[in-house]
């Protein structure tokens, strides 16, 4: 299935990745090549086959809700790109 530039731009917007023109061109070609490989699946009859989510069938694993220490503020903020006091600093989310 061929993917065109407009589709690549749409996917990149969904994935929140800015692309250069060259990248858009290359991804259109490469994603088309990869999707061609997926065509083989059309030949496989999967009618009535349950999809697999977990290979060992573990389902809804529960544990007791026991209070415990969590990371302190310094550790939590150790890798913050931008910090103000004990907060992660972010760009404005709301318009003024």
């Amino acid at each position: 299935m061929p993917i065109d530039r407009a589709q690549v731009e749409h996917i990149a917007a969904l994935a929140r990745i800015a692309l250069t023109d060259d990248e858009t061109e290359a991804f259109a070609r490469q994603l088309s090549d990869i999707l061609d490989q997926f065509e083989v699946l059309q030949a496989l009859d999967t009618t009535g086959v349950e999809p697999t989510a977990h290979v060992a069938g573990l389902d809804t694993v529960l544990r007791d809700d026991e209070p415990a220490d969590s990371l302190d503020a310094e550790d939590t903020l150790l890798n913050a790109p931008r910090r103000r006091a004990d907060f992660f600093q972010v760009r404005a989310v709301l318009e003024e």
């Binding site: 993917i3 589709q7 690549v8 996917i11 990149a12 969904l14 994935a15 929140r16 990745i17 800015a18 692309l19 990248e23 290359a26 991804f27 490469q30 994603l31 090549d33 990869i34 490989q37 997926f38 083989v40 699946l41 496989l44 999967t46 086959v49 349950e50 999809p51 697999t52 989510a53 977990h54 290979v55 060992a56 573990l58 694993v61 544990r63 990371l71 550790d75 939590t76 150790l78 890798n79 913050a80 790109p81 931008r82 992660f88 972010v90 760009r91 404005a92 989310v93």
Partner: protein
Amino acid sequence: MSETPTDQLWQLSASEASRRLADRQISSVDLTESCLDRIAEVDDRISAYITVTADLARQQAADADRRIAAGEATPLTGLPMQIKDLLCTNGVATTCASRMLAEYVPVYDATAVSRLREQGAVLLGKGNMDEFGMGSSTENSAFFPTRNPWDTARVPGGSSGGSAAAVAAGAAPFALGTDTGGSIRQPASFCGVTGLKPTYGRVSRYGLVAYASSLDQVGPIARDAADCALILQAIAGHDPRDATSLPDPVPDYPAALTGDIKGLRLGVPSEYFAEGMDSGVRAAVTAAIEQLADLGAEIREVSLPTTEYALAGYYIIAPSECSANLARYDGVKYGYSYQDDGPGDVDMWEAMERTRQHGFGPEVKRRIMLGAFALSSGYYDAYYHKAQQVRTLIRQDFARVFEEVDALAAPVSPVTAFPIGDRTDDPVRMYLVDVYTLPVNMAGLPAMSIPCGFVRSNTDQGLPVGLQLIGPHLSEGRLLNIAHTYQQATAWHQQRPEI
């Protein structure tokens, strides 16, 4: 080997070093120093390490020697190791070979790492890899490619290429790798070392930076099966911090190495010997299976008919999970963040898009985009849902053959180590390198790669070939015993590259 000079201690296998440490024949400080010297000697040629933690290693080695002297040692106390840079190490940079995390320093250890540290293992450093585990050659590292110690013009495989190359070159007695579609087994095969991908959930994924969470698994890369048994023993088991880790009790893996496989029913899946396989690989794997028959295994040809759909299924599921997992890299809480505080400061969305543009390499972006597409409105049923059904059929294939046989023997990869740059321009050709390893991840099974021969190449030494052993869920002990029995009778695993 009992006369090993102090500066040659790096040559010892993990098991042998463990015995000598316990007997006080050698010290961890000397062993660690020898490994650090070996890294200094070879790593400028193979680039297996992203970070070498020499000072930390010396300190941990001294601690280990004190612990041994106090009679409080475990089999791993004082053993040096390399950890793939996809596993979090408290206070030590964990880059995932990505610009996105080039400066990232975790404040906690992955569970597999903390279990090794509690046992007293010594961290030599962090292993190079394909960015976030995405690749088959370690050429997708954002920093530098790792080179194969058998021929430095060739790739070591991937994504755990730095780990396999380090073990092969003696720059670490053992390493922890991770395997999502073959990332332990295929580099182990290309580098002539032994690798084990455990059952999904056998080893905790806590602190393993997520790529495809339903497929990822941590495991050892070492010189032989006995070493892998020792390491698996330390890292296996339930972890409340990983809800997908299995509650099953952990058996005694070293005790499973009886060296006896008489009566073992060993299946050979015909689909794993398809067209396009290197003739040298076919010959070496076929000879290894005959050897296993001589050792008492009963060989049966079996069929796994869904195999031909596994590659497509995998390259839908893994990228889909990747696109969800890697959505966390938004430049806010940690990692690279696009900064432009000039008058044209960008808004929140643009900053995020540019963070991801500059922080991720081409293969990571390709997989995120592929996954975002497969999960997007209008395509979900045709791709993702279909791939999850393929996964069920693959599991059923394996379940059916494991009613007739105890384990499977097959090649790890249809090829041996290829030249650096040979496949980087063609993603599909690169993906095909893992065609015989990724069905195992789709079914969550344990599997090993063990050295089983060499093919001729342009160098005198030739290139290693790996035999893959695959078993039913939680059959690690059985696989380790088959590998051990084979290694008792053969010397392929003892061959070392001249570097």
